[in-house]
């Protein structure tokens, strides 16, 4: 627990207390909002973890949007034609690994401008997935995890265990990435090549190979984010990411490049999304739907403006390694 700051803990406790009060006041609606918050947070969180792992290794990834789209596309059509959802998920992951390999190749080996590299991924993904899109197909649903006892808990149960396995794995992967980054040799080396690659090189870390591995691994997290969107929408639609890959980048920055920070930020975004959906559904606010539609994007801009200067990117992010 020593990695968790008192401020973070304070906000977490406040949020929990508010949730309990709200639950006592109106259980059904609180559950609806919280449940929706977790679902909306899932792709943002996975996308943010993707960006975080790339940047911690010294590679900027703004192609998360395209990665999500490509993996959702592959996942949907493989699941649809094979009739097996697991094959679809595997196919989506494989597709995102290919996208990751492309990003690694262009930004690490070719030393191309990394922001342009991400943009190429985004434009290509939108064109590719729309071009090969076939209308009118369906896929089997993504199953949910069931853990006896835990799933019957009020509040936590429906939060984690009623949405399909990917929502659960998003929360689980936060812990994994955190432990990986701060508790293993691999993590230490990863942070080193993102901050001071030539120092890491001097002590014998193979920077090129580690960056390749991390970018591909991270892109698979981005792929999971796309598959998570697919899990909620249950079919592929053209341009279904709708800027979520970029919101994920804001989540990453707001979480200050830390896994648990990203989780807090993603849950905040998800909570506001859930609240908005509930208010809109109840007709509590008489506002044109387009203004509701703007909220997540305006929120992202505000978050960026608030967090921008405070979040210090890893020193070597965006700089190709030229050798010591």
């Amino acid at each position: 627990m020593k990695d968790v700051k008192p401020v973070t803990l304070f906000f977490a406790v406040v949020a929990l207390v508010l949730a309990v009060i709200s639950y006592q006041w109106d259980g059904r609606q609180t559950e609806a909002v919280v449940s929706r918050a977790v679902v909306e947070a899932g792709p943002l969180l996975l996308g943010a973890l993707c960006g975080l792992l790339c940047e911690r290794s010294g590679v900027i990834n703004i192609g998360i949007e395209g990665t999500m789209l490509m993996s959702a596309f592959a996942g949907f059509f493989i699941a649809s034609y094979s009739g097996t959802v697991w094959l679809g998920l595997l196919g989506g992951l494989a597709m995102s690994a290919i996208v990751g390999l492309f990003l690694a190749w262009t930004s690490i080996t070719l030393r191309q401008d990394q922001i342009i590299a991400g943009t190429i991924i985004n434009i290509f993904a939108l064109g590719f997935t729309s071009f090969y899109y076939i209308q009118g197909r369906t896929m089997p649903g993504v199953p949910s995890v069931s853990i006896p006892f835990l799933e019957d808990l009020p509040f936590v149960g429906p939060m984690l265990f009623s949405h399909g396995i990917l929502t659960f794995s998003a929360m689980f992967l936060v812990v994994v990435v955190h432990l990986f980054l701060y508790r293993t040799r691999w993590g230490l080396r990863t942070r080193a090549i993102g901050e001071h690659p030539s120092a890491a090189d001097t002590v014998g870390v193979n920077i090129i190979s580690l960056r390749y591995r991390n970018v591909i691994l991270a892109s698979m997290l981005g792929g999971l984010a796309g598959l998570h969107l697919l899990q909620s929408a249950s079919s592929f639609q053209r341009g279904m990411t709708n800027g979520k890959g970029f919101i994920a980048l804001a989540v990453m920055l707001f979480g200050r490049y830390r896994p648990f920070g990203a989780m807090g930020a993603a849950l905040l975004f998800g909570f506001l999304g859930g609240l908005q959906a509930q208010l809109q559904f109840k007709g509590a606010l008489d506002i044109p739907p387009q203004f509701f539609g703007m909220i997540p994007y305006l929120l992202t801009i505000i978050v960026l403006a608030a967090a921008g200067l405070a979040a210090r990117p890893p020193a070597a992010a965006g700089t190709p390694y030229e050798g010591a």
Binding site: L110, I115, I123, F124, P288, Q290, M294, I301, L304, G308
Partner: protein, 373 residues
């Protein structure tokens, strides 16, 4: 394009060597387009089409007939301005991928001025364009200020503003919105512009194209012949050195973003005033992203943006024919664009595939340079 011509001691005649440098600069984009066509052809083969007949149809449809050229130039007009917007921002090390939102704002506000007030033509056309451009410029200035004072990276903020602008313009022309056309029924659009605000065509050639070319020359002049342009390029090359040299970097960032967004906004205005005669959201999809490809294909040179935009405009103009003759989805153009973008942005790949000696001096151009820039 930026080859150091004047430093070449063997350059006897400066004018002809400038031309030679220009031609040398052309090689990389041409090879990039060719390689993109090859890879695109393979993708077309996979989906069961003959790439040669597809490409022949594109050339025939967009570049070989009078009406085809007119249509291509019509499509190219907003693209010249969208490409200029991206290229101009690159000069200051800024990456404006919000051309789409800025273009929508420009298109909607120009249409509003165009239908709601009556003015003589000579005033009405430029006034509507200026309002469209300035509203977009205001958005650009906000993006610039967020970047300069709060460190919010423009790549994320401009994308987010795309969605904000999309929703806003959607609302303005929707049935509950103030600019809705009551005769439009279910279609969300503004009423038709008054004739005095419509940019005329000259035979097959839309006059808007000349406006766009005028802005290209203006941008070139501003960047290469004024102190302000020098300050922009210095900021783009090295922000810290620029600050040390006494340039107000924050001011440059805000103004550059505003001008960049202004150009994209005028591109939208030309769409409403020159092509459709009204604003309808679905008329403008995707144009903002084409600007990125065009700016890089032009190696961020404002004049070179014009032919690059004509090329991409020609691709866009052929989509209807491709759909009719080959049942190919219009998105094939986006794939080709992403491929062009890849090859043109990665000269090292081109040099690896095409091992011409002379290509080594094709300079890498200043683009974004990461989060910190």
């Amino acid at each position: 394009m930026t080859s150091p011509v004047t430093t070449d001691p063997e350059a006897g005649n400066q004018e002809s060597s400038a031309l030679a440098a220009g031609l040398r600069g052309l090689r990389l984009p041409i090879i990039a387009v060719f390689l993109a066509a090859v890879v695109g052809g393979i993708l077309l083969l996979i989906s069961g089409d003959n790439p040669f007949s597809v490409y022949a149809a594109i050339v025939d449809e967009s570049f070989l007939s009078g009406s085809g050229i007119g249509r291509t130039l019509e499509k190219a007009t907003p693209l010249v301005l969208g490409g200029l917007a991206v290229a101009f921002a690159f000069k200051a090390g800024l990456f404006n991928i919000g051309g789409q939102g800025q273009l929508l704002l420009g298109a909607a506000f120009a249409a509003w001025i165009g239908y709601s007030i009556g003015l003589p033509t000579v005033i009405h056309i430029p006034f509507a364009m200026a309002v469209g451009g300035l509203v977009a410029a205001l958005l650009g200035a906000i993006v610039g200020a967020l970047k300069a004072y709060r460190g919010a990276h423009e790549v994320i903020t401009t994308i987010m503003f795309n969605f904000v602008a999309g929703n806003l313009t959607d609302y303005l022309v929707s049935r509950d919105g103030p600019w809705n056309d009551p005769e439009g029924g279910a279609i969300a659009r503004t009423p038709r512009l008054q004739d005095s605000a419509i940019i005329p065509t000259w035979g097959e050639i839309p006059m808007g194209f000349f406006f766009a070319c005028f802005f290209a020359v203006l941008a070139w002049w501003l960047l290469n012949k004024t102190t302000f342009g020098f300050e922009i390029i210095t900021t783009g090359a090295n922000k810290h050195a620029a600050k040390y040299a006494g340039i107000n970097v924050n001011r440059i960032i805000i103004l550059t973003m505003a001008i960049s967004a202004f150009l994209a906004g005028v591109g939208g205005a030309v769409q409403s005033q020159g092509v459709f005669g009204r604003f309808e959201a679905s008329n403008n999809t995707g144009l903002g992203f084409d600007g990125i490809t065009i700016a890089l294909l032009a190696r961020t040179n404002p004049i070179a943006v014009i032919p690059a935009a004509v090329l991409i405009g020609g691709l866009n103009a052929s989509t209807t024919r491709l759909q009719q003759d080959f049942r190919i989805e219009p998105e094939v153009v986006s794939i080709l664009q992403a491929l062009i973008l890849f090859f043109v942005a990665a000269p090292s790949v081109v040099r690896y595939i095409v091992r011409w000696k002379g290509l080594d001096d094709a300079e890498d151009i200043q683009l974004t340079g990461g989060w910190g820039s």
